[in-house]
Symmetry: C2
Subunit: 445 residues, 2 copies
């Protein structure tokens, strides 16, 4: 077999990098569960006709066919999901009778998109989604709840500073309606281009595509430039002099989200109201959010989400929801590639149990079992090389301790960082807690 | 959207069942890591030409094509992996220069096969693999090591009793060679049919298909009926009077594996030498094992593996390995369906923080944050219903405690199983450790 080469768009991690990814996923899970969110996993596939809806994403869908299938059953009618929202909506409908609402769930799984690979964009990528879904109704306070959970979860991660930028669709729509714009949807779609086009061009497009007057377009841009780290946006919007009930509702909701997510002390997550955030997707109906990572603005958002009043509907009930997604692969793979994140070792072993000679393997195994009984990950040296070589083996893998078997079940342990060697009782000795598991090192540039 | 129905062969778990699966996976991971095995994940896809080798499995492979792809790029040349061994072999070759050997890894991921679904056989299924791979050489003691790891890992699971049934290819081949059989491969393939065909028929096939004499066929069957829970098989085989160097080697290896895996006290895993275990796959060269679950013999084996002297080779080096795989979906989904395993609750929350009225939400949230700071998963009641309704909400989800906010940050907590209600300090109170996480209940029939 020739040496294989990596597949573009399908990144794989070496063991040390995988340590980082696993600890990040464990940390996210821990926070989600502290807030009462249950984990689910959905199958990797959906019926193709549930995924392909004539949208732009369709051409990125991977459909499944059976190799060598007989009698026309080659096409399975199935395709790999391209996000976790469509499968979750289907799961809620399929199991509605067996779920308790409001249903809080988190899901950390891969999804697949056949798009052109680039930094932060992969053909297989893992994302972490939290959502709360109600049956027929879902009070607004859940918007604050779910956004706070993600703020807490990301604040606990060893990553560069993250910014949550919130807006509210009711605020935008109410403002545009109060302003008298004729086509709200076209206006939102146009404003959403502000991150790609200059303000002047967007103003022109508002006139040509969304039917705005030049005066209305100017006001839309004024709204979109409001960006503050607190609730002072309420006064700034009021000062623009537009009156509308929906605008009032949107202002109150956005203020509650910004206030709720700012409460408490944060390590590196900041919260802003940024009134140009629109998110193109049509199904958002209230709160919207995009998450950015400092120094990695080129990735665009590393997460986002919002409120959708009809995640799913089966004719008997509708299921409103609110949720937010974090791109695990999108953020971690660039951080790992840049050396911002690394693990202290590539193996779980905290201790290498040395081997005196092949006859001593049983004794070394017994020592290792004593350590394991106390929760200490360890391995026994593969061969009875000179101790110097065994120590270098541990060093190469980042294993911090080598345990040398002594007579009558005694042992000595060497911390190979300090070189210090001491006699220990292997029945009770454990390394200090910080050495038990590999740790993540964060090297900010 | 019409209510969707489940897809045959793609089982999904409700949240409580997923609690069981996650705890099983966490428990497996913990044991693997205590033994120094590093976790990796490989991408879900491989180039189709690496998977399809003209074998029986080929027609079960799911290949990927892009929907609406232009210019003839519909077929991606990729397919979903059908096990974790082929991707692991490719990963080792691709990263050989960056891995330290012997390389111990575990991998717990889904795989896909388009086969006809039945109990224990799914189109998407999760398996847990542990392997040790060397570069050019891998001493035999690693066979004992990797099998012991899986014995330890499965012994810690809340499942019915499991039996590890070991054999050794060298033992079989040496015996057949010493006996003078003309076609060893055909003989092994034929003996492997003993679980489907009566002994007489297998004896006839040994004569007709493998070129054995009636006398040789009888000896092959005698060997295959040896099944003991210790190393006494060595004497029994010797008593059959066949002499061969490879047989001696196989006997010594099998004795070492049986002895090594029997050491220590086991909760529910037993170990046997069963000399009819052959495993059809051609790449095994020494130790082989199949794992069976008591009461679920109809699933056939729930795991298996063995020694392969050439997992992979790139022209410069070969990579011998030894490993064993456990079918997580194959064993758990029937156990969950039969009610043998269930979780004490469907949500992570150990506590529901009650809500006096909507104005009190901030106070209840603050109480919840105090609990979370002490590592207690909790949620705040969705609406300020009567306390009786809030208690029933907790009861329905299996949440054991309800915390009622009192004046000035005080609180009372009710254990809704006993009905006992006591005043507590929410800054320091935590539920007893067994209530912190959902527990798995094992209901053996």
């Amino acid at each position: 077999m020739a040496r294989p080469t990596p597949l573009s768009g399908f990144p794989e991690l070496l063991p040390a990098a995988r340590v980082v990814e696993r600890q990040v996923i464990d940390s996210l899970s821990r926070t989600f569960e502290l807030h009462g969110f249950a984990n689910i996993e959905t199958r990797a596939v959906e019926p193709l006709d549930r995924l392909a809806k004539g949208a732009e994403i369709d051409k990125e869908i991977y459909a499944l066919r059976r190799v060598q299938a007989g009698e026309g059953e080659g096409d399975s009618g199935l395709a790999l999901h391209f996000d976790l929202t469509v499968p979750f909506a289907r799961y809620v409908l399929e199991n509605a009778g067996k779920l308790d609402f409001p249903f809080r769930r988190y899901q950390i799984q891969p999804a697949w998109r056949g798009e052109r690979p680039q930094e932060g964009r992969y053909r297989q990528f893992t994302q972490a989604d939290v959502d709360i879904v109600g049956q027929d109704e879902l009070p607004f306070h859940h918007d604050v709840e779910v956004m706070r959970v993600m703020v807490d979860a990301l604040d606990a991660l060893p990553v560069p500073p993250l910014s949550f930028q919130f807006n509210n669709r009711k605020l935008i729509q109410g403002f545009y309606r109060g302003l008298g714009l004729p086509d709200l949807t076209a206006a939102i779609r146009t404003i959403d281009k502000l991150d790609k086009l200059p303000a002047d061009t967007v103003a022109e497009l508002l006139v040509s595509d969304a039917g705005a007057t030049a005066e209305q377009a100017a006001r839309c841009l004024e709204l979109a430039t409001i960006r503050v780290p607190d609730t002072s946006f309420v006064e700034q919007v009021r000062a623009l002099g537009v009156e509308d009930d929906l605008l009032d509702e949107g202002l109150a909701e956005l203020a509650a989200v910004v206030e709720g997510c700012s409460a408490g002390t944060r390590r590196h997550v900041t919260v802003e109201a940024n009134l140009r955030i629109a998110r193109g997707l049509d199904y958002y109906t209230g709160t919207v959010v995009e998450i950015f990572m400092a120094g990695y603005e080129r990735l665009k958002s590393v997460g986002g989400g919002g409120r959708y009043d009809a995640l799913a509907s089966d004719g008997r009930a509708t299921y409103p929801g609110v949720g937010v997604s974090f791109g695990v692969s999108r953020s971690l793979i660039p951080l790992l590639a840049d050396g911002v994140l690394s693990a202290s070792r590539s193996v779980p072993s905290a201790v290498l149990v040395a081997l005196v000679d092949e006859e001593g393997r049983r004794a070394s195994n017994a020592l290792a079992d004593q350590l394991r009984a106390n929760g200490v990950p360890c391995e026994v040296a593969a061969s009875p090389q000179k101790f110097g070589k065994q120590i270098r083996y541990a060093e190469r893998r980042g294993i911090p301790y080598v345990l040398f078997p002594g007579p009558d079940g005694a042992a000595e342990v060497k911390d190979i960082r300090s070189g210090e060697q001491t006699a220990v009782d292997p029945a009770t000795w454990t390394p200090p807690a910080p050495d038990l598991k590999p740790t993540i090192k964060e090297q900010l540039s």
